[in-house]
């Protein structure tokens, strides 16, 4: 799909605040409301916008700890990846599961209320997964999402 700088500007606006109407986005990107609406629809139809995400203050909701886990499967070849993936995805505290190549097989993002709560999740739910082997944990201190390569602002 060929996108121009205006499409990139719209994507930047949507990734900051997706609840803006086509009118507001048009004003920010120098388009009329109907023109902005058509472009937004085209971006969504093409799947460039994968979906919407509600952004919550997880500290305020009592989730004080985020930990990234690198998980190695113990017995490669014998464990079904599908079984592992299904079981790990069903754990509510596991927010993301990525299959990776390198030092680890899977990368998990896990939230917990505090460190004792994390330890409970790790021992009772992660370590008991079918095929889970070596696990490395890194506690998240800060996180920043960048706009990505969406070109320079045309305005």
């Amino acid at each position: 799909m060929d996108l121009d700088d205006i499409d990139f500007a719209i994507l930047r606006q949507l990734s900051l605040n997706a609840t803006q109407g086509a009118g507001a986005i048009g004003r920010a990107c120098g388009l009329s409301q109907p023109a902005a609406w058509r472009r937004i629809k085209r971006l969504r139809d093409a799947g460039v916008v994968r979906g919407l995400r509600l952004q919550l203050d997880q500290q305020a909701l009592g989730f004080g700890v985020t930990v990234f886990l690198g998980v190695k499967l113990a017995t490669k070849g014998r464990v079904s990846l599908e079984d592992f993936e299904r079981a790990v995805s069903a754990i509510p505290e596991v927010q993301t599961v990525e299959h990776v190549l390198g030092l680890y097989d899977y990368r998990l993002r896990v939230v917990a209320r505090d460190l004792p709560d994390f330890e409970r999740v790790l021992r009772r739910r992660i370590m008991t997964l079918p095929g889970a082997g070596e696990v490395e944990a890194n506690v998240l201190l800060s996180e920043e999402r960048r706009p990505g390569p969406l070109g320079a602002d045309p305005l």
């Binding site: 979906g51 995400r53 509600l54 952004q55 909701l61 596991v94 599961v97 920043e144």
Partner: protein, 151 residues
Amino acid sequence: MFDDTDRRILRQWQAAPDLSPAELAERARVSIGQLARRQARLREAGVVRGVRAVVDWAALGYVVEVSLRVTLDKTQGSAFDQFIDAARAVPEVIEIQTFLGRVDVRLSVIARDMAHYQHLYRSKILTLPHIADIEALMHVARIKSDEALPL
């Protein structure tokens, strides 16, 4: 501060952020008026920061995603700040995270193909300041990515 109704609303809202108010009110078993009041209150309290669109980089032609786990040379006090400032200037870096553990900083880097990645890695990543060690995890598949909180 939050009651079960708030949690119910947040649970349904985060599961489907593009529902209309009427649909969300029905799923959360509240009236539309109640929903609007509680949503406004959750926003004012800063619990709900907003709704953002998630860009599918693969659909834009960035099919390679690599997770770079970086250990910094911490003998210099400003190593973290200088490294992160420089990483922010690389457009292909879409995520910067700092950690307590074996890894200091992790960067998510996207590229159009392996040749593009190799070019980025050599010209924009390895030139970042204060790197002591760097490890790469190549992204194969995203199995779960909703990032929902277990409310």
